[in-house]
């Protein structure tokens, strides 16, 4: 299996007044295509910063990040937006659907930014919605859907452009145990179909569903029950 994400001594520091805070302190991590990796850590451990870094929403102070064979740690904004659009599907704790758009329009959005022509775009969006079992709810707005359904629409949006990585940040954090379980089941199925999953959580019971668990504490990584896929 080829390496999809290679982080090498990644460091991120912030200045807070006179103090320098090391949010990430020399992180090295390799994730291969098809893996299901869970990054677990308490709040303030730097896991959100790590997620932003992997998701290309933030750039490191030092170190390197190779994504799908391309060095991405020193790229301009518009190039990063482009890579995010093609390579990363975000799944947020708060779903982050646009409330005035229908489920279908929400799923279509990343394809619009990619510039996919109309007919092809509609086909891809519909396919993604059907994959999460919500093809019949395409004209509903997020407000008319349950939490679990909203998260599934959000997953469909992440899937629509067929990105190699799905980046999920506490995907079950706003759901009850049962619907949370359903969403986790869906994520596992997607992994079995070949999607690479990076999941960030502070919840061990969620993390235990992953094949590989990485602990983060004070900006440093410690690998635990790693059974690398392959």
């Amino acid at each position: 299996m080829e390496d999809l994400i290679v982080l090498d001594r990644l460091t991120k520091t912030y200045r807070l007044g006179n103090e320098t805070i090391r949010a990430l302190d020399g992180i090295s991590l390799t994730i291969r295509r098809g893996e299901f990796v869970c990054i677990i850590g308490p709040s303030g451990s730097g896991k959100s910063t790590l997620m932003n870094m992997i998701g290309l929403l933030d750039t490191p102070t030092s170190g390197s990040y190779r994504l799908d064979g391309e060095e991405v740690s020193r790229l301009p904004d518009s190039r990063l937006a482009d890579i995010r659009n093609r390579k990363i599907g975000f799944i947020f704790q708060q779903f982050n659907l646009l409330p005035k758009l229908t489920a279908f329009e929400n799923v279509e959005l990343p394809l619009i930014y990619r510039g996919v022509p109309g007919r092809e775009r509609r086909r891809m969006a519909m396919e993604a919605l059907e994959k999460v079992g919500l093809g019949d709810r395409r004209h509903h707005r997020p407000g008319q859907l349950s939490g679990g359904q909203q998260q599934r629409v959000a997953i469909a949006r992440a899937l629509a452009g067929n990105p190699p990585i799905l980046l999920a940040d506490e995907p079950t954090g706003s759901l009850d145990t049962r619907t949370g379980g359903e969403v986790m089941q869906l994520i596992r199925e997607l992994n079995e179909e070949g999607h690479t999953i990076v999941l960030i959580t502070h919840d061990l019971s969620i993390a235990s569903r992953a094949r590989r668990i990485v602990h983060i504490r004070d900006g440093r990584l410690a690998e635990e029950s790693g059974v690398p896929a392959g």
């Binding site: 932003n52 929403l57 937006a81 982050n96 758009l101 959005l109 949006r157």
Partner: protein, 389 residues
């Protein structure tokens, strides 16, 4: 992408109907007032211009202001202007308001003493009978020609021809009636009684001719002829140039158009101010909207929207708002102008140029005042935007 953004902009405008309407109000009022005021202004200008042109653009009017023998002219002297090179017709006028009676009815009208050229100079036509002739002047005949309205109010449906009216107690025989001409800026030109000027001079005991209407043979030489007339007058009054004044229709038209030009400039200024105020309103609401939608912007950026996508989205929203305001404003302006036409009988002229200009200007306002909020949205940091509650 652009089509999607326009669709999105309409969606977000429709989602907040009340707010959008209030935002557009500044632009609507600005554009509507320009459209309405310009329509009324141009209507008035057109009416005045038509009236002035109706008198003939080859007309010169000489007003005699002076009194006393050295500063006034009698009919004979006035007619020397008819011999000036280039002058075609010359109609000196003495006039006074007088009571005209027929049977039991009496009217207070303008009684004008003049000669036969008056008919052509003022572009009257005869309805029946004849006009004042040279012979009437020579023998100071007591004959009168009635304006259409005066004839109607004194005689009703009867024919006045051959009847006798009294003017200030003097008996005059009616020899003709003028055809109706309509209103003019100087009052009705159909309420008039015309008598021979020589008869008038004796009856009114005026100190000479007050007004002389001259027509020019060739319109294009009007200013040259006017110079000659002024020279002749200067000779007559021995250089006392304050005693007379010569007006040409051209001059009047120029005055009218310069007044309407400065009016248009003023309207433009008012419009620009109100549109700028409207633009500030749009900027204000767009800034609020950017703050409200910070999270949305964060999501859009996370899933791959570039700066220019966000910039374009908010800019299009501002332009759609201001453009829509412009359209509503044009509608409201047309409505207001038509209302003024119906209620106050004003003339209105709608100009497509002004409408296009107002619409274009309101769109431009959207771009100018939308740029700052849109740029603010585009520069948001996606991480902070996503964290925004």
């Amino acid at each position: 992408m652009i089509f999607q953004s326009v669709k999105m902009a309409f969606k977000s405008i429709l989602a907040n109907k009340m707010r959008s309407l209030l935002t557009m109000l500044g632009i609507i009022i600005g554009v509507a007032s320009v459209i309405a005021l310009v329509a009324i202004g141009q209507g008035t200008t057109r009416r005045v211009t038509e009236q002035v042109q109706g008198l003939g653009s080859n007309l010169l009017t000489v007003n005699i202001a002076g009194r006393g023998p050295s500063t006034s002219l009698d009919y004979g002297q006035a007619m020397r202007l008819a011999d000036v090179e280039g002058v075609d017709l010359a109609a000196p006028v003495v006039s006074q308001n007088a009571t005209v009676k027929f049977g039991g009815t009496s009217e207070n009208v303008n009684v004008t003493g003049t000669n036969r050229d008056f008919l052509g100079v003022r572009r009257y036509e005869m309805a029946e009978g004849r006009f004042i002739g040279d012979v009437d002047l020579t023998f100071r005949h007591r004959v009168a020609v009635l304006g259409a309205e005066t004839a109607a109010s004194l005689f009703g449906d009867e024919s006045p021809l051959g009847q006798t009216v009294t003017i200030n107690g003097n008996r005059f025989k009616v020899v003709g009636v003028l055809a109706a001409k309509g209103e003019s800026s100087a009052g009705s030109s159909d309420e008039i009684v015309i008598i021979p000027i020589t008869t008038g001079e004796r009856m009114f005991r005026t100190g000479g001719v007050r007004t002389i209407y001259l027509t020019v043979e060739n319109e294009r030489e009007a200013s040259v002829v006017r110079g000659r007339v002024e020279q002749e007058l200067a000779g007559m009054f021995r250089g006392n140039t304050n005693s007379y004044r010569v007006f040409s229709q051209q001059e009047l038209l120029e005055t009218v158009s310069s007044v309407s030009d400065s009016l248009a400039l003023m309207l433009g200024g008012i419009a620009a101010i109100s549109l700028v105020v409207g633009g500030i309103g749009i900027m204000n609401i767009m800034l609020v909207s950017v703050t409200e939608r910070t999270r949305e912007i964060g999501v859009r950026k996370a899933i791959g929207a570039k700066r220019r996508h966000i910039l374009l989205q908010f800019l299009i929203e501002a332009v759609v708002l201001s453009g829509l305001g412009g359209l509503f404003g044009i509608g409201a302006g047309i409505g207001a102008a038509l209302g003024a036409k119906r209620a106050a009988g004003m003339d209105v002229v709608f100009s497509t140029d002004i409408m296009l200009l107002a619409f274009g200007f309101s769109m431009a306002i959207g771009i100018v005042f939308g740029l700052f909020p849109a740029n603010k949205a585009a520069r948001l940091n996606p991480i902070e935007a996503l964290r925004f509650e």
